[in-house]
Amino acid sequence: MITVLRLSLPLAIWLASFSGVYGLHGLMCSSRWAGPPIGLSERGLLIGAAILAIAVQSLCLVVLRAPKWRDPDPAMRRIGLALAAIALVAAIWTLLPPTVLASCM
């Protein structure tokens, strides 16, 4: 079961951060659809959430490499690390928009 968790954790974190940051954006914009852009402080919060998500994702990669946590089966270890790397790239790529866009339109 631990092996399955190791495999599913990185992308589950990505899914959670993706939903979290996008949901946060939706909540911020809920009162101003087609209105003025998100304010500076709110935008800072979005960027902070994106950076936090990327940091957690990086931590996941580091933890899965640590001797204490890594999978005893070398093949599964490689697959787990590949998934963690893919999840990190996915997090950086998909969380980029909140850092460059401020519009609710």
Binding site: H25, S30, D73, M76, I79, L83, W93, L101
Partner: protein, 767 residues
């Protein structure tokens, strides 16, 4: 005991009932897999005939071959049948048939659940086909967007057939997904660790988990839309606080993962067949597994790319465009791994290989146009045109049908025990290949010239006539090709000569048995030390037939197999499977009555049939038996093992875990719907709504806590806590019902009713 006597003894234990009765009482995965595949092919033929009617209508401008009403029904049912009644069940059938054989076990984890799922599929599919024959088939498009599908746009019974019929069929998908997940994780040959699993099993596992998490949003959407249609609860009506876009979100939360649910099993078949055809091993096994798992998860972050033109915010467009382009990466990883496998091997151009080459040529084009429509400005131009129709057919036919035809020809000798003798298949291949590209390549241009999808006819003089005529002629060429494939398969299955056990010289375990396979698969279970056991030990089939593996002694005269540790594949316990029974078919028939009662608005039938289903389920669980403590039993090799009933985590426990995953996704989708309407809809909550007071919340909390405490203590104390707990919960329910206004007045009220209903439905099970 010699091999023949062992075969006879095991056949007596595992065989389905003889004759016609066997069709209805079988719980054997080989029989049910074949039945699944046969019914899926039947629906493919039905869907194909509908496609030909569409092409006949569109062959010329202002055609009167089909009227608009019939065209809408035919178009809707073509998409519905191909997606829900052909593609998913074909995967289920293939997995049901193949997985135990590939994994080195004797059956799936829950044989009766397989049968229940199959009969739900048959009855649900029959309901849909009946609607077509009766002229009341769904006509709002296979995606059923409201208001086209709400009572305003479709006042008849047509959309109800879709909403109720598809929900019924989805029971089959959820059952199969639970089945496949538990089987792959717990029912493998001893020694088969996760990293030694056949690649097809990885794909099946990812697909099954995707079904468990992808289908609940659609089930929820269907329930909400049916509640709106039947009882006027306005979830999708803007004037009453709802939003039609909620349906699109729920539908595509299912719909986009659905594309990968269809593609991944085909990719599993490709990864299995390609190395055998190239006479080498699969390049980049680990990368392919990582890519499949990534695709499975990333595909849940793309659904909004189907909604780029609905006016969603720029941030949403950027978000989902980024995710949509990202998903091309793991897809490309697989394509390159397959090309690498081909380049390091010595490919032979057998018929399965021809279909795989057709897959490459077609799917790559579909994938590239997919990246094009992931780019928002292009999507705005191409959306709802025939460009999208062409793209999706390149992906679905190229990415699913062609690999499945490769799979059909590859495993045909396994299904029938005969070698492919007649060569009609080669002619059929070229007809289908050229027919397909003749149909859909040109339709890209029709789309770019502005031809909208779903139109039942068009005016001359727009530059579409020649394209549509060629597409229609090519479509009929493709249909002739598919008909030849069917004829070829039937002829080869009936009159071809007996073939050898492993005609392709493959290394996976499904070829380590005589073909067609015996009902017990393996006379004794293998101990696996690599991904291709037959390459390591060509004599393995003979040794297994001699009973040199696990459970080679049928002396206990019951259906036994071994369950293993998830990661290492170490033997864990013996599972005793139930015998043949008509209970699954009976239960699915009663489930059908439940759905029929809702469809025909004969609501008195609903509680009666629901009680019938519960009674069947209780009998099902009760008749499982397994209460006797037998202690450790010999299994022929290694240490003695307990039976599953004597362990802390029997298969049922695992099945419940994955069913809860589906249930959790359903609840998550419900909360998503609430939050979506909250952020989008004006007047949320409506001004006349009385917010529930703190008293109700505290009473509910106290009730739940007391009930939970009561269920954990000994009987006397349980009564002391659980009784007042249940009373408190009942009081909460009554107070809430008194406070919540009419559910037909506003979407907020309707949503609260559904949330309360969900809670009440789950409370008795929890207690």
């Amino acid at each position: 005991m010699n091999a023949l006597r062992r075969h006879r003894a095991l056949s007596r234990i595992w065989a389905s009932d003889p004759g016609l009765r066997g069709w209805f009482t079988t719980v054997n995965h080989t029989d049910l897999g074949r039945m699944f595949l046969a019914v899926a092919v039947f629906f493919f033929v039905v869907g194909g005939i509908l496609a030909m009617l569409i092409r006949a209508q569109l062959a010329s401008p202002r055609s009167a071959f089909l009227g608009p009403d019939h065209y809408n029904q035919v178009l809707t049912m073509h998409g519905t049948i191909m997606m829900f009644l052909f593609a998913i069940p074909l995967f289920e059938g293939l997995a049901v048939y193949l997985l135990p054989k590939m994994l080195g076990t004797r059956d799936l984890a829950f044989p009766r659940l397989t049968a229940y799922g199959f009969w739900c599929y048959v009855f649900g599919g029959a309901m849909m086909v009946f609607s077509l024959l009766a002229g009341v088939a769904p006509d709002s498009g296979w995606f059923m967007y409201p208001p086209l599908s709400s009572t305003i746009g479709a006042p008849g019974i047509n959309p109800d057939f879709w909403l109720i019929g598809i929900t019924f069929v989805e029971i089959s998908a959820i059952s199969a997904a639970v089945e496949i997940t538990v089987t792959v994780l717990r029912y493998r040959a001893p020694g088969m660790s996760l990293s030694k699993m056949p690649i097809f099993a990885w794909y099946a596992l990812v697909t099954a988990v995707m079904i468990l998490t992808g289908f609940p949003p659609l089930i929820l959407g269907s329930i909400l839309l049916e509640l709106e249609r039947a009882f006027g609860m306005p979830f999708f009506q803007v004037a009453a606080g709802g939003d039609a876009l909620l349906w699109q979100h729920l539908f595509w939360l299912f719909g986009h993962p659905e594309v990968y649910i269809i593609f991944l099993p085909a990719a599993g078949a490709i990864s299995t067949i390609l190395p055998v055809m190239a006479r080498t091993t699969l390049m980049g096994y680990g990368w392919i597994v990582a890519a499949a798992v990534s695709l499975g998860v990333l595909s849940f972050g793309l659904w909004v790319h189907h909604m780029f033109t609905t006016g969603i915010p720029h941030m949403g467009l950027a978000f989902f465009s980024a995710a949509s382009t990202l998903v091309a990466v793991p897809t490309a990883v697989q394509i390159f791994a397959w090309i690498g496998t081909l380049s390091k091997g010595r490919p032979s151009l057998h018929l399965p290989m021809l279909w795989l080459l057709a897959f490459f040529a077609t799917f790559v084009i579909g994938g590239l146009t997919g990246v094009m429509v992931a780019i928002v400005p292009f999507d705005w131009q191409a959306h709802d045109t025939y460009f999208i129709v062409a793209h999706l057919h390149y992906v679905l036919i190229g990415g699913f049908v062609f690999p499945m035809l490769a799979a059909l020809y590859y495993w045909m000798p396994h299904f029938t025990g005969r070698k492919t003798y007649f060569k009609l298949g080669n002619t059929a291949f070229w007809l289908v290949f050229f027919g397909f590209h003749g149909t859909f390549l040109l339709l890209h241009w029709a789309g770019l010239l502005g031809m909208r999808r779903r139109i039942d006819t068009y005016e001359a003089g727009q530059g579409w006539e020649a394209i549509n005529l060629i597409a229609s002629i090519s479509g009929f060429v493709m249909a002739i090709g598919f008909a030849l494939v069917l004829i070829d398969v039937v002829i080869n299955a009936v009159v071809a000569i007996r073939g050898s056990r492993d005609p392709w010289k493959a290394g996976t375990l499904e070829w380590a048995m005589p073909t067609p396979s015996a009902p017990y698969n393996f006379a004794s279970l293998p101990h696996v030390t690599s991904r291709d056991p037959l390459y390591d030990d060509p004599e393995l089939p003979v040794r297994l037939a001699r009973g040199e593996g696990y459970l080679g002694d049928p002396g206990r005269a019951r259906r036994e197999t071994i369950s293993v540790e998830i990661a290492s594949g170490a033997p864990r316990y013996i599972t005793v499977f139930p015998g043949n029974t008509a209970l699954p078919m009976l239960m699915s028939a009663i489930t059908g009555l439940f759905f029929l009662g809702m469809l025909l608005k004969t609501y008195w039938l609903v509680p009666i049939s629901a009680s019938g289903v519960i009674a069947c389920a209780l009998y099902w669980v009760w008749s499982l038996g397994g209460t006797t403590r037998e202690g450790p039993l010999p299994v022929g090799r290694g240490p003695d093992l307990l039976t599953a009933a004597e362990t802390a985590d029997p298969p049922g426990w695992w099945g419940s875990i994955f069913l809860l995953l589906a249930n959790g996704t359903f609840f998550g989708s419900l909360l998503f719907g609430y939050v979506f309407l909250w952020t989008i809809a004006p007047n949320w909550p409506p001004p006349n709504f009385a917010e529930p007071g703190l008293g109700i919340g505290l009473t509910a909390l106290a009730g739940a806590a007391l009930t939970a405490l009561g269920t954990r203590w000994r009987p006397g104390a349980a009564l002391l806590f659980a009784a007042p707990g249940l009373v408190a919960l009942a009081v909460t329910g009554v107070m809430t019902l008194m406070l919540v206004p009419d559910p037909t007045a506003h979407a907020y009220d309707a949503t609260l009713w559904v949330l309360i209903g969900y809670g009440l439905l789950h409370q008795p099970w929890h207690s």
